[in-house]
Symmetry: C2
Subunit: 399 residues, 2 copies
Amino acid sequence: MRLNHSFLSTFLTLYAALINTNANANANAETTSTSTSTKIIAEEEHEIGYIQSLKLQIPPLESVTSEFQQIEIYESKHYGKVFVLDECLQLTEKDAPHYNEMLAHIPIMEYIIMSMNMKKQKRIGSETQTETRMDMKPLKVLVIGGGDGYVVAELLKHSFVESIDHVELDQGVIDVSSDHFPWAKDLWKNEKVHLHIEDGAKFVQQKANALSESESTSESYGYDIIIQDSSDPFFYEDDGSLTILPSNVLYSDQHFQALFQLLQPNDGILMFQAETYNIPSNLEVIKEWRGTLDNIGFRNARYGTISIPTYPTGQIGFYVANARAADANADTECTTDDKSSDGRTCIGNHSSSLLASEEFDMKTVTKYFEQMIGKTKYYHPKIHRSAFDLPLWVEEYIY
Amino acid sequence: MRLNHSFLSTFLTLYAALINTNANANANAETTSTSTSTKIIAEEEHEIGYIQSLKLQIPPLESVTSEFQQIEIYESKHYGKVFVLDECLQLTEKDAPHYNEMLAHIPIMEYIIMSMNMKKQKRIGSETQTETRMDMKPLKVLVIGGGDGYVVAELLKHSFVESIDHVELDQGVIDVSSDHFPWAKDLWKNEKVHLHIEDGAKFVQQKANALSESESTSESYGYDIIIQDSSDPFFYEDDGSLTILPSNVLYSDQHFQALFQLLQPNDGILMFQAETYNIPSNLEVIKEWRGTLDNIGFRNARYGTISIPTYPTGQIGFYVANARAADANADTECTTDDKSSDGRTCIGNHSSSLLASEEFDMKTVTKYFEQMIGKTKYYHPKIHRSAFDLPLWVEEYIY
């Protein structure tokens, strides 16, 4: 999702000139504010010959050069405020719920469904739901990246989230987000949230090392849920060469191994941003990540999909994986009986949300979510279940 | 999905110049074929300030000016052959299955599930599946538009599709598609397919008038399934003005009324292309279409979604609706008992595929589909079920 800057800057300059020419040629309602003009931000996927652009109003509302990057906030006509890092679109107010609600609520809800015996609940009836809610144990969560604060804000809606370690590299991102996004205002002043301005990979590695050295089996060292909301790990230049980006360390075998160590061994859940399947090199690493997670000891690594118009190709994905022992999940694995002659009937058995299981009644889960959280914009239990249903060619490639 | 041509043509010229400059500056593997260059095709959604572009190889493989439009086929590096009408992208070989398999198989599978007592099948066991397959009555299908032939080709994979009336305005589209797309080769020579080079709206109106005049109740006049694979009905110019496109007549109340008349009154199914929800004016008409269908007498009009990278915002939708009597579907409507205090728990009850009902076992349906059709690229019963699970804000707006 990165640009070839030398090329694109020329393109953007020319294009911006055209846009302005066009605006002047058409004397219409849009030009009443003559002091406001527009610029175009573009994201090019060289690998597939795809370019996506968005009109932003200039000048930016904010432009800060931090130790690590240029941080900008723009206003836009349709997408609300747009958050840009080094000329790359990170988030728009309009469609940010698509990505962030899924990253926050899917691991929490998977945890809840796994923890509670919803089947039993269903039999006993709805009267016991409030009690179940009280029974949830307090959760410890780690959020890596996501300095815009959206994921952390969604997590805090769950009353049983007891503490969140939030690791973000750039204090500048925290400051700008606090000033501009409603969900981030006073977010890091919340006593449940512990902000660490650090390199996410180093933070994780140090914690894991400390854990190994102490040889402790105490649960107090473990997280129940880890969410990694990172930028892209790599991109291909126009000449076909691969460029490794800083967040690549968050996708190394060593890092995933450390995350595994930091999760509760029986019911810990890992969630991380996992790119779009529409770009061949991405799809390849999506498959590789599944193998890596499996080798480390994660179980049920499932790739899910989110529709989001301002990300290239309108789609981004995530992985959810359990840090529990293999035999505890044997019932969700493919069995020979499930397979037709070509093995395809098993599709879904190894890639589904727990919500796709017949054990869980959608109506009960939905009522539970609404009682707990109330209003969301994108997430609800039905779309949680559906997120794991991929185009067949993608499903067949990954699994 | 249309362009402001005067503006975009200038942009494209400049952009193409840049692309070529860039290619020359980087002496790499891509420039070995010096006789091939690229051009950019762009689609701008003025309403949301969104532009999407795709690189095509020039010269085009084919360029024909028909009575109605300019028809072109380009080669592309990642998306295979690209089909372009009047500079608007219609289809790429790579992601065409996403859209076309859904348009063909969803109405057929909904019909099958509705017709068969799958629940009974499940109890009796898998041995009886072959018999059930033989029991399907022969289906009469009408396809309006879709001159690329993909939907018709998919329909023919179902052996019980007895006849297809295919109405396409432009013989040029049929000819070019026959020459370039593997699925379209000899397609219209198939004895089950009856090609009508006509205006789709007029064809439907004439059939409906003839039916009214004959006062016949004979089932031989009705279609079991009607699929409308049309281009966009309207778009907004850069200055905010609305431009009505030729296919707008395929979305009028009168046309939908005529389609209703042409469908079998008890089990007929209508499927039509229904735009993306990511553009406000589209979402508004998506909601209006549902009201129109409901007023005419259609039941269970359900908006479904498809991920497709080369369509603007990466998403396009469709409607499926039943032409059956209202009381026959009472069990799928919302009831007071289903609703939580704010009514949201009912979400999905009125918007789901039949496959989301607990009556139908996904494994049985999947086995059935695979026995019948074999290999697809995008469609499978799980994604069929999931297509109706929308982002919550979209679901709440439409229903």
